[in-house]
Symmetry: C2
Subunit: 247 residues, 2 copies
């Protein structure tokens, strides 16, 4: 049994609260949110507070708030507590509590409305001492089979990589959508291709999966494509084509 | 019942042959391939030839070969046949047969080894006359519920859009993979995020789905990310970040 207090009222806090409440091995002792109404949906399941002086005792305090507020909130947590945050891009050193520190980073893109299956979500953990790392590992395995010990240094790199495969990929979808709209073609025609592109690299490496005119160096098609794009789209098309060709 | 002859020995020809053979409404009368061994696996299911003079009669002749060979092969098909090709980027006019022309374009990324579920694949059709379009529509619905009437003009745009959401997206995966390798982080940690990114836009538009430091204009994180990348990766990071910010 691990006892936990969750601090935050956003997407990550919501989904973690649900996962913790659903686990028979985790006791969610309390939810802290500056604005208690943001977590009102949990009021019948767990004690809620907006006062840091009223925090209950727990094995671990999990801060799931925006990156730039983590330092400040952790600074207000006294005693030799284990305090962890859930951010992909903030280092462990940014925690300013006087006690022990760690990371509990679920690597997924969360939205409040969409339900989350934690058994599909990798959790990256880190701690200053091995005993706390063990506790975080146990906690993570209670909600997901995919647990990785990742250093702050590795995590910062992983976060850049995640920007490419998530944010930038989504922008490729956005440009595809723009082109479709412009020529009155339904974007939904592309959805199965998008799904297959993502599914393919579960089996082969992105290098092996690469196809298309850039990979084939099919200059005729590349030129025809460029003629159909606006200046900004052309710039992106050319840069990525060059990058694919340079391997 | 629709009778068809398939011309080609590559991935698309293989998967179409399988789908046609599996349909009770389609009679695959013949497979033509310049190199008959490329379609040898079908030798017990259908007549195979490498001689265009021996083509059998059919309602439709489907050319599934590389883009630059379509004109030449179609030029050798005589009589008032309905000849269609399966390419996303070649116009209907590129068919040089003397008879009727059309398009039968399954919009998906095929590989020979991976089985294909045609019920998930959009088929884009086009024909010179409405009767042929009707026949192609019927044929398409025999193997997929997702059938779209798309003009050659629209199809060429759809093909550029497909390059963005497939080829360029895969290159984002590749860069993510490079970063992970460089810092000894397992790329598999990112696979659930990749899957979720693709799944998300089945429910919301790419515009609504956009998150990340570029979208938030989080200059601190952007700068930290740039410091972790090599020159080529930086160039791509900066251009896409700019493009996201320009909406």
């Amino acid at each position: 049994m691990i006892t936990a207090v969750l601090l935050g009222g956003g997407n990550v806090a919501h989904h973690l609260a649900e996962a913790f409440l659903a686990s028979k091995d985790i006791i969610l002792k309390q939810l802290y949110a500056r604005n208690a109404t943001s977590v009102a949906k949990f009021q019948h399941d767990v004690s809620i507070t907006d006062d840091l002086n009223l925090l209950e005792e727990a094995d671990v305090y999990i801060i799931a708030i925006s990156d730039d507020a983590i330092g400040d909130l952790s600074h207000q947590l006294f005693g030799n507590k284990l305090v962890v945050h859930t951010s992909g891009s903030v280092s462990m050193d940014s925690l300013e509590n006087e006690g022990r520190k760690g990371i509990f980073y679920p690597l997924q893109s969360f939205s409040k409305t969409k339900p989350v299956d934690f058994s599909e979500i990798p959790i990256c953990i880190e701690a200053e001492n091995s005993k706390d790392l063990e506790l975080l590992e146990k906690l993570a395995y209670y909600i997901s089979p995919k647990v990785y010990k990742i250093s702050s240094d590795q995590r910062s790199k992983l976060h850049v990589a995640a920007v490419f495969v998530n944010n930038f990929t989504n922008h490729m979808y956005k440009i595809g959508n723009d082109i479709c709209k412009q020529y009155d073609v339904p974007f939904e025609v592309l959805l199965p291709l998008i799904k297959e592109t993502a599914a393919k690299i579960e089996e082969v490496s992105p290098n092996e999966a690469q196809t298309g005119p850039a990979k084939r160096n099919d200059q005729e098609t590349i030129q025809r494509h460029l003629n159909l794009l606006d200046t900004k789209q052309q710039e992106i098309y050319q840069l990525i084509t060059k990058s694919i060709q340079n391997g």
